[in-house]
């Protein structure tokens, strides 16, 4: 499928800006997250394509691994530190670290500071990283200043329900960026998701430690998605989306589950570009 480098008017505007102010293209180091790396590579592809379409130079340091959040959340901070130190090293020189996940983004931006609070050697590194970490949509909207990130005008028309994942909303405090980008995307109609800010019940190990509670929360989220009338549900976190997709698939519901990058990239459910 042919791909345009950016939506036309944006490309134009970008070109003009270059003429006027000659900004350097932003250079983003992608922290792809282990869940996307291992289970959803196509999401990573959409992330890269979207960033590039918006004029961002993307780099993927291959020695990256997991941010350590699953360990940190279950109290195993010693083990979490092992992975955190690695992450700090890998991104030591990055201008911007872009993370297509509110949850892993929060780990890098917020929880590393706690993790190394009483480690004077590591804390400055954690603080430096914290200031350079952006969630994917936040980066596009706030740093690059993108107003339209949508790609394929020929992609399928979609009615999209956006689920604001908890850590994105309450730890990274990213509220509007994904909505603004989704709204601007061609052939995307935003549906109103009832009780949108309610947790989907994933919570990492919570989902398997207390499945009876997690499933109740998930069932309510699914109900809200169906009530919204959307044909697609999206979010900025593959953890939550894996959880939601698990139920959508189990119940054979006619709802596509996509990362925001996939919606912006015009990808069909489960496809990469």
């Amino acid at each position: 499928m042919p791909e345009r480098s950016c939506s036309a008017n944006l490309a134009g505007r970008f070109a003009r800006e270059i003429e006027l102010t000659q900004p350097q293209p932003k250079r983003a180091s992608l922290f792809v997250t282990c869940i996307i790396d291992q289970l959803y590579p196509e999401v990573g592809v959409s992330v890269v394509r979207t960033l590039r379409r918006c004029g961002v130079e993307v780099d993927f340091p291959a020695s990256q691994s997991c941010c350590g959040q699953p360990l940190y959340n279950s109290g195993f901070t010693q083990e979490a530190k092992r992975l955190a130190m690695r992450t700090l090293d890998v991104f030591e020189d990055a201008d911007y670290v872009v993370v297509p996940s509110g949850s892993c983004g929060a780990m890098l931006r917020v929880f590393y500071l706690d993790l190394f609070a009483d480690n004077p050697d590591m804390l400055p590194k954690a603080e430096s990283l914290s200031g350079r970490v952006y969630e994917f949509t936040e980066f596009l909207a706030e740093v690059v200043g993108v107003e339209e990130a949508g790609g394929e005008e020929s992609g399928p028309a979609q009615t999209v329900a956006y689920h604001p994942s908890c850590h994105l909303l309450r730890e990274m405090e990213v509220r509007d960026a994904p909505l603004r980008l989704l709204e601007s995307a061609p052939r995307v109609e935003l549906a109103d998701l009832p009780d949108a800010e309610q947790c989907c019940g994933f919570g990492g190990t919570f989902a398997v430690k207390y499945p009876h509670i997690s499933e109740e929360m998930l069932a309510d989220k699914i109900e809200s998605i169906l009530a919204s009338g959307a044909d697609t549900v999206t979010a900025c976190d593959m953890g939550c989306l894996m959880h939601i997709r698990g139920a959508v698939s189990r119940r054979n519901l006619p709802v596509a589950v996509k990362h925001v990058a996939q919606v912006l990239d015009g990808a069909r459910d489960g496809e990469s570009g």
């Binding site: 480098s5 291992q38 890269v48 691994s65 360990l71 279950s74 706690d114 908890c166 730890e171 947790c199």
Partner: protein, 481 residues
């Protein structure tokens, strides 16, 4: 101390999610309280609301950091006003103090206004064992006393009961004709309890705040029962956790703004009563004796740990319960002790011991809704993480309650994620294992031990042939997509 059933969290919460009446009650209450709370907050500007929260937080921070100083000031001023302050290190001491006061004064009947500390102490049973009649007078507390239950919410103790259940209870226990008309039920309670107020020798109340500067006890109510309990009997005993003190009368204003709005969405409650010592000579009425019992009962453990200290800033508004997706599914009783919900998951392990309440810090998705709602900005998720950390890695063996399997899994995960080789190996293994389990490219319901807990209601993807890093290396790194 009140019975501790925190070990039963899993079966209790499993039963709770099946209980449709409970679910109905929780839905109504959750959306009701939270809706009015949001409306009340929307009435003032965000700057004003955040300003109040910050001010309240600063007051609490300062007071708790100098708690010894303010407790001493409080004691001095209560005494100067003619009252007596008693200090109790634990529940047993507190119960003994109240029993002794009652015995000395020949008390036969006690009326009580709502007190969570009293629930924590299990005081009613202790007094009843002395042959004293004890009557809860807050309607919600009265209902659960009749039902011989414990509160399921910080501000609405009988939240879990439907009107039909209350009507049934009144008919059985009070011998009144069955009526599920709520107004009628409130009228019945008024009539029954009015006589008790007038008969009682001793009134027991909790305390929302204690003002060190003036030696005053402040209670905030809607029904008027608090006013009667503190005015009619000849003895008034106030029970308070030691964290309830605030320095100055001036500090009260911001809490009167925050508490009702956060609790029920009211701009202000019907009543605020401030009690300073017993009746003065010449007063028309009021108790002849005023006692204030200050209770530790485990709070110093929370105080001692800088990471948990802020749990003592709690003003028991219940907002965190009303927004908590877990509390909203399982209700208060499943938490197994007096303080449910997010703040209960911090306070309960602190008060009954971490080892007793293993599940509580874990039974949360860390969604953070509680912190956003909290009028004193208590960072509950952060404290849950701290407790999990203690469970996993504490040097105190008693606190180490995370299972060996968890520890092994954690170490294994960290090793795999730190080594590209192991990761590749692990991935190949999991793809090989997933093969036979998978159908249509995903794993459906499985009976394997850990897997089954996910796949009960959710399908699981199988790892695709290529990882993202493969795709990057082969395609993306070279060009522009």
């Amino acid at each position: 101390m009140a019975e501790v059933a925190t070990r039963e969290f899993v079966p209790a919460s499993q039963a709770a999610v099946q209980d449709t009446q409970l679910r109905q009650a929780l839905r109504r209450a959750g959306s009701g309280f939270d809706g009015t709370r949001r409306e009340a907050i929307a009435e003032v500007t965000p700057e004003v609301w955040e300003g109040w929260r910050e001010q309240a937080r600063r007051i609490k921070e300062h007071t708790i950091a100098h708690l010894d100083y303010y407790l001493a000031m409080l004691e001095k001023n209560v005494t100067a006003a003619g009252g007596r302050v008693h200090f109790a290190a634990d529940a047993q001491q507190a119960n003994a103090i109240v029993s002794e006061i009652a015995r000395n004064a020949g008390v036969r009947t006690v009326t009580k206004s709502k007190s969570m500390v009293s629930e924590e102490l299990g005081l009613n049973h202790v007094l009843e064992a002395l042959g004293i009649d004890v009557f809860e007078t807050d309607l919600g507390e009265y209902i659960i006393q009749l039902a011989e239950e414990t509160p399921s919410h910080l501000v609405a103790p009988a939240l879990h009961k439907t009107r039909g259940q209350v009507a049934q209870l009144f008919a059985e226990k009070l011998g009144v004709p069955y009526s599920d008309d709520i107004e009628e039920m409130a009228r019945v309670a008024r009539i029954v309890l009015r006589q008790k107020f007038l008969d009682a020798d001793m009134g027991v109340s909790g305390a929302n705040f204690l003002v060190a500067e003036t030696g005053s006890l402040v209670i905030i109510t809607n029904e008027g029962n608090g006013r009667l309990c503190t005015s009619a009997p000849r003895i008034h005993v106030g029970l308070a956790g030691m964290e309830k003190v605030i320095p100055s009368l001036q500090d009260l204003a911001v809490f009167l703004r925050l508490l009702p709005r956060s609790a029920t969405g009211q701009r202000i409650t019907s009543y605020m009563s401030m009690v300073t010592g017993p009746r003065r000579p010449g007063d028309e009425d009021g108790p002849e004796e005023f006692h204030l019992v200050i209770v530790d009962n485990g709070r110093s453990r929370l105080l001692q740990d800088p990471a948990l200290r802020e749990s003592l800033y709690c003003i028991r508004c219940g907002a965190c319960l009303n927004v908590c997706p877990v509390y909203q599914r399982i209700g208060g009783h499943a938490y197994g002790w007096v303080y449910p919900g997010p703040i209960g998951s911090i306070v309960t392990p602190g008060l009954v011991g971490v080892a007793q309440a293993k599940d509580l810090p874990n039974a949360s998705t860390l969604c953070g809704a509680c912190r956003d709602a909290c009028p004193v900005q208590i960072n509950i998720p952060r404290m849950l993480l701290h407790l999990r950390h203690q469970q996993a890695e504490s040097s105190d063996y008693n606190q180490r309650t995370a299972s060996d399997t968890d520890a092994l899994l954690a170490r294994g995960f960290a090793s795999v994620m730190s080594s590209p080789w192991l990761l590749k190996l692990g991935r190949a293994a999991s793809r090989a294992m997933a093969g036979p389990l998978a159908k249509d490219g995903k794993i459906g319901q499985s009976r394997l031990p850990l897997l089954s807990r996910w796949t009960r209601a959710r399908d699981l993807p199988i790892p695709p042939a290529r990882t993202f890093r493969d795709v990057w290396r082969d395609e993306l790194s070279r060009g522009r997509g």
